[in-house]
Amino acid sequence: MHSEEELVRRAQQGDTEAFALLCEAHFDRIYRYVALKVRNRADAEDLTQQAFLKATEAIGSYRWKGLPFASWLFRIAHNQVVDHFRRVSKEGEVPLDEAITVAPDDPASITEQRMTVAQLAAACDQLSEAQREVIYLRFGSELSIAETAVVMGKRQGAIKALQHDAVVKLRRIVFQEDTGK
């Protein structure tokens, strides 16, 4: 059992196995964050790969003091996404490619889950950019308030307020859609 701090130190000294363990620990969360942002499987795969390769190059300059490793990694992924949107279209206007979701065994749950992701994506389009980012980081990537604050460059109190407003708005949007059907 290794602490993350020890793994980071070993990775900085060139230990490939330690870096592989760090990738493994954060891979799914990074992919989910990127996929929610770009909403397209091919781009999500490409940008996740680029984020980890970038982290490999930059690991030497990472310093533990006060900055959680997850936040550092998510900043890299965030920057990759920002660069991507500079090259293509605007964030939030991209339709959801349902191929980003897994295909569970039960066909009934396929429909239910896919609808839910699509519903969430559509609802998130009606949130502000910062509110959407909080939803993706907190619920998609399960980052703590402190980690989310570092990734977004805001204070923890601001993140709590954004989270509250986002959840209230999300509930209102989803509820209205449900009753409208």
């Binding site: 060139g14 980890f52 490999t56 300059s61 660069d83 897994v102 399960e142 989803v174």
Partner: protein, 301 residues
Amino acid sequence: MNRGFKRILSECIDALLEGESLEQCLQRYPQHAERLEPLLRAAISAREATQAIQPPPQLKARVTDMVQSQMEARQRRIRANHVSFFDWMPQWASMGIVAVLTVIFCGGCVFAASSGSSPGDILYPVKLAFEDIQLAFTFSDTGKANLHADLASRRITEMERMASDIDSTSIETLTSDLQEHLQGVEQLAVSIAQKEQQQDGDGELEQLEQNLRRNYFKDTDLTISAEAKAPIDSKDDIAVARATMWTSYKSVFNTIETQRGARQPALPTPTPTTTPTASASINATATPDAIINTSQPEVLP
């Protein structure tokens, strides 16, 4: 009241993310249960929806392989450079050279070699390690605070030097390091002020402020120059870095001002006379804080 509710909501969401049930959360705050329940249900739905997104298993394996290969290739390059140099020599000679090189290393040649390095260079971690050693061996609060201030400024010099080919990750790393150093200055400024008050001394805090003021003007010019040189994709990132730098400096100057105010009668507020973008017209007597207050653009999120 509302602020308290936002904190409670956040706590409950944390608990849900860690596996607690909705009922357990609601039981902890019965007085807020009615308001909390629909929001927590929405949060649970959002989380469940996102969990349907999973990377294809082959992607994780492929990326892990690529990352490992890239790291191994880098290690091989470093080792190859070392081995090829000594290959043709007898073992005793190589050992002697290694010993001499070690002495030279300790004497600071590696530091000299690394001093011009930038993020992404092989020698950059050596430079950062040397800075940590310098900080560890600087024992006075004033010395340490001035060193932190100069190291913060060094990050901006590096940003300017590599501006024509800079990427967002390097800007991020440099800005974050600058913030850390300025936070260090801020903490030490409090302790310097307290010591001056106890010993009835004066001048060290002022010297520190003057040093910071010089760095502030120089760094502002450097970020402007960096933005001009940077590729179009990085210009916004450098503008954000400058805004973050201004905010950090402002926080330090505010702390120094507060500490001074705690032990002296209030000083008259100096009149700002210039803008940070025009270095040629900078009046050295204007406080950067005043300049920031009057002419700093809105800090970007």
